[in-house]
């Protein structure tokens, strides 16, 4: 066991894991976190707490993750390299682990020009792969990055990262996953999957490299709320591919939101059958109430209790 988190125990036992996602409030209103936590508790094994996603200023992922622990929901603390240099990163890791956080997702982060502080200076002292290496060094060697100095205490973290099989160059995406594995990642959550053929092709490249035996891959899904959302995402979000037949299904449906949920459940069932997929990551952003329905319809409930 690297950290002994619930998520790690479930994956290590070979059970099919379910994670969710929770966006902190754009302020310090704890009731927002409480409401979302109540919608997710019991339906997922752990929940990602985003770190100023899309570069919109929100409550810090560390503080929110700590509140989640108090509320009885296990967090996966996201951390981006956009806003912190390695001094702040390592200091924040000390603090986060002291607060009981056991899962961490290492990300580069959305570019700051997408957010609400476009005049800011981005940091990128490390990239996501170097961040994985940094956390692994702190955990396994008990030292800071590039240093001999021993850390006071022990860093126990189950290290995660993201990968996007729908970004280009496609052929490089499995190579890049290999670099993350070499850097020490324990689990991967993917960008949301709609193009099943491309995902399967990517998983084949992953298996050909033997990576599926070295890292737990959680397949990402996002239910489509409406035809407008499907069209918008397909057209405007780089690195997301939505095949026309899926867009058509949502657009033509009498109840698009219900159709979106139905598609999501079908996708989960298909993803479960793929060798090397060890879990599902449900990103129902600002639609958290649907997580319970999706997990129920997909036959993922009740969530297992592990010791």
């Amino acid at each position: 066991m690297k950290a002994g988190s619930n998520l790690e125990k479930i994956l290590e036992k070979g059970l099919f894991a379910v994670t969710g996602e929770l966006g902190p409030p754009k302020g310090n209103d704890v009731s927002v976190i409480k409401r979302k936590t109540d919608l997710l508790r019991g339906y997922v094994d752990a929940v990602n707490v985003t770190d100023n996603q899309t570069a919109i200023v929100r409550m810090s992922s560390i503080a929110t993750s700590s509140l989640l622990i108090q509320m009885g929901l296990e967090p996966v603390m996201q951390m981006v390299t956009r806003d912190r240099n390695r001094i702040a990163i390592q200091s924040d890791i000390f603090g986060a682990t002291a607060l009981g956080i056991k899962n961490m997702l290492c990300l580069t982060g959305d570019h700051h020009t997408f957010g609400n502080q476009v005049d800011s200076k981005n940091v990128h002292d490390l990239d996501s792969i170097q961040l994985i290496d940094c956390v692994r060094t702190m955990r396994d060697q008990g030292t800071l990055l590039g240093g001999e100095e021993k850390i006071e205490g022990e860093i126990k973290l189950f290290i995660g990262a993201a990968e996007n099989p729908f970004g280009d160059p496609f052929e490089f995406r499995a190579t890049r996953l290999g670099k993350k594995v070499a850097a020490g990642v324990n689990f991967i959550q993917t960008q949301c999957i709609y193009d099943m053929n491309r995902f399967k092709e990517w998983m084949k490249m992953v298996r050909d490299r033997g990576l599926h035996e070295k890292v737990h891959i959680l397949a990402g899904v996002t239910p489509l709320k409406s035809g407008g959302m499907a069209r918008y995402m397909a057209k405007n979000v780089s690195g997301i591919i939505i095949p026309d037949e899926i867009i058509d299904r949502v657009v033509k449906a009498k109840k698009p939101a219900e159709e979106g949920i139905k598609i999501c459940v079908e996708q989960i069932q298909e993803l479960r059958e793929i060798e090397g997929v060890h879990g599902i990551h449900i990103m129902a952003i600002e639609w958290e109430q649907m997580t319970s329905k999706i997990t129920e319809m997909a036959g993922l409930l009740p969530r297992p209790k592990v010791e």
Binding site: D125, D127, I129, D133, D168, F172, R176, G239
Partner: protein
């Protein structure tokens, strides 16, 4: 070469507002190549400044100069006699040139007339793109000769982010994804194995601007 763009004329006029006689100095090197601060631009800007001041009834005398390389001491010192005759200098060389004049002429105000933008190359007539950040430890050997530090919006060292789509960067769709270019180039060269290697965290604090202003001393060349 160093690239620059002329500042808005109103900003230049504000900085020279108190003066009636100035020197406008360009540079015959980098900024001449990108049509921002060469001899031709000195002539054009000098006329524009004179006209603007005449229009508000505050005529100004603008002397013109365009030393071959404003950032070199011997060329900067050639301006000494002219600088004696004026109240202030506007330099449309890069930020380096401005500071060379400042060092040579401690009693004369020197104002920038251009914004120095980047180290880049001419990709076609009238189009320049950033290519180097003078980061202090060149990694082009590992990346097929294409620099991710200057050409990737997130300065990624180990491959593209999830926003690389159809060869373009998600930040600006007209910008090529540096990592797509690197991938294509290494594929052409039969060197894709280079992408398997993890490039470790950089020593920014020792090698780069983060260590403070950098200085090169060549004992063999000092006189």
């Amino acid at each position: 070469m160093i690239k620059a763009e002329q500042k808005p004329i109103d900003e230049i006029l504000r900085s020279i507002d108190p003066y009636n006689k100035i020197l406008l100095s360009g540079c015959g090197a980098c900024v001449a190549v990108c049509h921002a601060g060469g001899e031709k631009e000195v002539g054009l800007l000098a006329s524009a400044l004179r006209m603007a001041r005449k229009k508000i009834g505050k005529t100004i005398e603008v002397l013109e100069a365009a030393p071959a390389r404003q950032c070199e001491p011997e060329f900067a010192s050639e301006l000494a006699e002219t600088v004696e005759k004026v109240e202030a200098v506007v330099s449309i060389a890069c930020g380096v040139g401005v500071q060379t004049l400042v060092r040579h002429f401690p009693k004369t105000p020197v104002f920038p007339g251009v914004n120095t933008t980047f180290l880049g190359e001419t990709v076609m007539h009238g189009v320049w793109e950033e290519r180097c950040q003078a980061c202090g430890n060149c990694i082009l050997e590992k990346t097929g000769g294409i620099c991710p530090i200057s050409r990737c919006a997130k300065q990624l060292f180990n491959g593209p982010c999830g926003g690389s789509s159809k060869g373009k960067c998600e930040i600006k769709r007209e910008t090529d994804c540096a990592w797509q270019l690197i991938y294509d180039r290494l594929k052409t060269l039969g060197q894709l194995y280079k992408l398997e290697e993890i490039i470790p965290a950089r020593r920014w604090g020792v090698e780069s601007r983060d260590s403070g202003p950098r200085r090169i001393v060549r004992e063999d060349l000092k006189v």
